[in-house]
């Protein structure tokens, strides 16, 4: 029996395909929660920025920081270089702040949180009770017997509903709380690091976020500490016509380690919703951060109505020697994805990795990839991107590998593969390669092809229907990335692959 368990674990990543395929259904998280909300008036102005700051009980320096960003933002143009085609966004026709009324008086602990909110997360498979839980996995019969703890920060529209395991984390010196709480409780850390990776002037969406971000997560891992559990944030957009602008700041001090998971869903609505987040990660000497995302925003319906417009700036700064960061993303949702999680490899011998699966079906469009900016000596980066395009979708990998003159003896390896399912979709690869020193080596490979007919027939001859066969082959195609995810996430991602491709064949 012992060796069987052994084998199951090793096979764990893909053994869920069967259940997945059996459970295939359309977007599972499309319901909404009826709850009384409090909104700021529609539109954006200095007053709205002040209001958001005030609602969060922020000190003056923070209000000023936001206002500076806002004033900058009004002078900026929305970028148009991505291969994305969407109707013009009216930034004045959005709510920039929405929170459940029950959150007005901040609950002191999760016990005081509105049961409706807790039920929402329960339904999403994210129980907010402090117990042995498996992030984001419903009915996973493969739970390891010794279930792992995952601390969760749950963000509902504009506010953080609650954060679990805070006390236990505090014992290890780890700070895990909402960013609004961090601004109040840990101003010295926030002031030192906020905007130091993604400056408020960085780009149109990041600047917008800097002005209006309402909540998000804050993580600080002190020197030498290995975070005792995985941390996760679960973002839920619920309110209509409401943008979500969360801000995440993760600081891994010298020699520390943390694995961080991010999940997101939104109700099915037939109008598009805006999401413009910023994630900043600071990695100091010898520290390591793993950041995994399973992005499952509502992708819009089969005719391309509704869905989330996702414009996200994520960047990690390996600020000191031997810092290490790994981005893993599974992008299945969103009508529009504009997202380039990047690594600035500043410290000597620092390392950046980017593993991505982007699946687009129906009318979805994704323009996503990464930037690896090599500044320090002996820096290493690796990019593995798997794009799958079906229906009438457009899927673009866009990436930059830059070796600065001083980044001597550095290495990059990039592999970008695209798979096309059907003849109405598109798959594109737009890599930028900039090598400014000769001792570094850069290798880039990219392929585009369709699901192999022989593989398809082989699977069908063994009894799988076409959709199952495609799901199996696509999971194989994306295996290298799925393996980079924490196990529970990998299983969820695997199911998502199949669900996302529903209706793409035949």
């Amino acid at each position: 029996m012992n060796d069987i368990t052994d084998l199951e674990v090793r096979e764990g990543v893909d053994r869920e395909t069967v259940e997945t395929v059996a459970n295939m259904g359309s977007y599972k998280y499309g319901w909404d929660t009826e709850i009384e909300m409090e909104y700021a008036p529609k539109g954006l102005s200095e007053d709205i920025v002040r209001l958001i700051s005030e609602k969060n009980g922020e000190p003056e320096w923070m209000t000023d920081w936001r206002l500076k960003a806002y004033r900058r933002w009004v002078t900026m143009q929305e970028p148009s270089w991505a291969m994305l085609n969407y109707p013009e966004i009216d930034f004045q026709d959005q709510y920039y702040y929405a929170r459940p009324k029950s959150m007005e008086a901040k609950p002191k602990s999760l016990d005081e949180v509105d049961p409706k909110l807790l039920a929402t997360y329960e339904k999403l498979g994210i129980p907010l009770k402090e117990q042995m839980i498996l992030a984001g996995v419903e009915g996973a019969d493969a739970a390891p017997a010794d279930g792992r703890k995952v601390a969760v920060d749950a963000v509902f529209d504009s506010v953080s509903v609650g954060t679990t395991f805070k006390d236990e984390l505090a014992k290890a010196g780890v700070i895990f709380c909402s960013i609004s709480e961090a601004i109040r409780e840990h101003p010295e850390l926030v002031q030192k690091y906020l905007g130091s990776v993604v400056p408020p002037t960085d780009n149109f969406y990041a600047t917008l976020n800097s002005a209006v971000f309402s909540d998000g997560s804050f993580v600080y891992i002190p020197p030498g500490v290995t975070c005792p559990m995985e941390l996760s944030t679960y973002f839920r957009i619920n309110a209509e016509n409401t943008g979500q602008f969360e801000r995440t700041l993760i600081i891994a001090d010298k020699g520390s380690y943390v694995s961080y998971l991010e999940g997101c869903t939104a109700p099915k609505r037939d109008t598009a919703q805006l999401h413009a987040a910023v994630v900043e990660i600071v990695v100091l000497e010898d520290a390591e951060v793993k950041y995994s995302t399973v992005q499952n925003w509502f992708p819009g319906d089969e005719d391309g109505n509704g869905g989330i417009y996702n414009f996200v700036t994520k960047r990690a700064d390996c600020r000191e020697a031997r810092a290490k960061v790994m981005w893993t993303q599974v992008e299945t949702g969103s009508a529009i994805t504009w997202k380039y999680p990047s690594c600035v490899l500043r410290g000597d011998d620092s390392q950046g990795e980017f593993y991505s699966i982007a699946i687009t079906n129906n009318h979805q469009q994704a323009d996503t990839g990464t930037k690896m900016i090599h500044l320090g000596k002996n820096t290493r980066s690796r990019i593995v991107s798997k794009g799958i395009s079906a229906g009438k979708a457009q899927n673009t990998y866009r990436g930059l590998v830059s070796m600065h003159p001083k980044a001597t003896n550095s290495r990059n390896y990039t592999q970008c593969d695209s798979l096309l399912i059907g003849d109405k979709c598109g798959a594109h690869t737009v890599p930028y390669i900039e090598v400014k020193n000769a001792s570094s080596r850069v290798e880039h490979e990219a392929t585009t092809s369709k699901v192999d007919d022989d593989q398809l027939f082989y699977c069908r001859q063994r009894g799988m229907d076409e959709e199952e066969a495609v799901a199996v082959i696509v999971n194989g195609f994306a295996k290298e990335v799925l393996q980079a995810l924490p196990m529970e996430f990998a299983m969820e991602a695997q199911s998502l692959v199949a669900i996302s491709l529903e209706g793409s064949v035949g």
């Binding site: 069987i4 084998l7 199951e8 090793r10 096979e11 893909d14 053994r15 395909t17 069967v18 395929v21 059996a22 019969d141 493969a142 192999d452 007919d453 022989d454 593989q455 027939f457 082989y458 699977c459 069908r460 001859q461 063994r462 009894g463 799988m464 229907d465 076409e466 199952e468 066969a469 199996v472 082959i473 999971n475 194989g476 195609f477 994306a478 295996k479 290298e480």
Partner: protein, 251 residues
């Protein structure tokens, strides 16, 4: 069990008739061989029966236990009990052998209205079958056919056969690319699977495989038709005199 009557098929894209009236019947428990020169339509027969794209049936019928195979999708034929051991088993990078086989088995079971196997039950089954066929667990963990030697690929086909337990097994040139030892291993696997309720159709160019898998009936195929049917001695005749003699005699 398997009844093929006057089967005509052509390539979908070209006006080239390949099968020109194949008729044969394989009863349960028997092993039949189809032999014939290159280009006679042997492999096409296996593809048409299993429903590969690219062929158009222009006339005739093929049934398995009275069910019309030609109307079914490939996976429906598989669930109905038809198994094709490929001449060139396909490599599927990234997909573990175990996952592949479990997905296939449960898909077939589901289609037949049978209970699906849990991970543990499946593991037990595959270990049992693997052991019986002398296939080590390491091979099961690797991606489907990727990096397998020719012999390993064919043994993997036999393992799949053992796990899926089909009624009607078609072996398409299973001996191609195998040395004598590998061929013996594969043949042993097939022989172990012979059963009163299972039939085999062994497609081969050479007689040598039939030394190891003894057929009950041998059909000689030429230019898209079965031109002669007889006992195992027919295979020996081909071995000794070649196809030319036999075919001229038929003509």
């Amino acid at each position: 069990m398997l009844k093929i009557n006057n089967l005509h098929a052509k390539l979908e894209d070209e006006d080239k008739q390949i099968l020109k009236g194949v008729s044969l019947e394989v009863p349960a428990g028997e092993v039949h061989a189809i032999m014939g020169p290159n280009g006679s339509g042997k492999s096409t027969t296996s593809y048409v029966l299993s429903g590969r794209d690219g062929y158009e049936v222009t006339d005739g019928s093929a049934t398995l236990y009275g069910e019309d195979l030609l109307e079914m999708e490939p996976e429906e034929r598989a669930a109905a009990g038809l198994f094709l051991a490929f001449q060139y088993p396909v490599e599927i990078p990234g997909v573990g052998n175990m996952t592949f086989l479990r997905t296939a088995l449960n898909a077939q079971r589901k289609r037949r209205g049978e209970e699906e196997l849990s991970a543990a039950e499946f593991l037990k089954l595959i270990r049992e079958k693997g052991k019986a066929l002398n296939i080590d667990a390491d091979m099961l963990k690797r991606p489907v056919n990727v990096g397998f030697s020719g012999g390993e690929k064919k043994r993997n086909e036999i393992l799949q056969m053992a796990v899926l337990e089909p009624k009607m097994c078609i072996l398409d040139e299973t001996d191609s690319g195998l040395d004598v030892d590998a061929m013996r291993l594969v043949a042993d696997g097939v022989n172990a699977l012979r059963a009163p309720d299972r039939a085999f159709l062994v497609i081969t160019h050479y007689q040598r495989l039939l030394d190891h898998i003894r057929p009950d009936v041998v059909h000689i195929m030429s230019d898209g038709k079965i031109v002669k049917t007889g006992g195992p001695e027919l295979a020996l005749e081909v071995e000794q005199n070649g196809y030319a003699d036999l075919l001229s005699e038929v003509a």
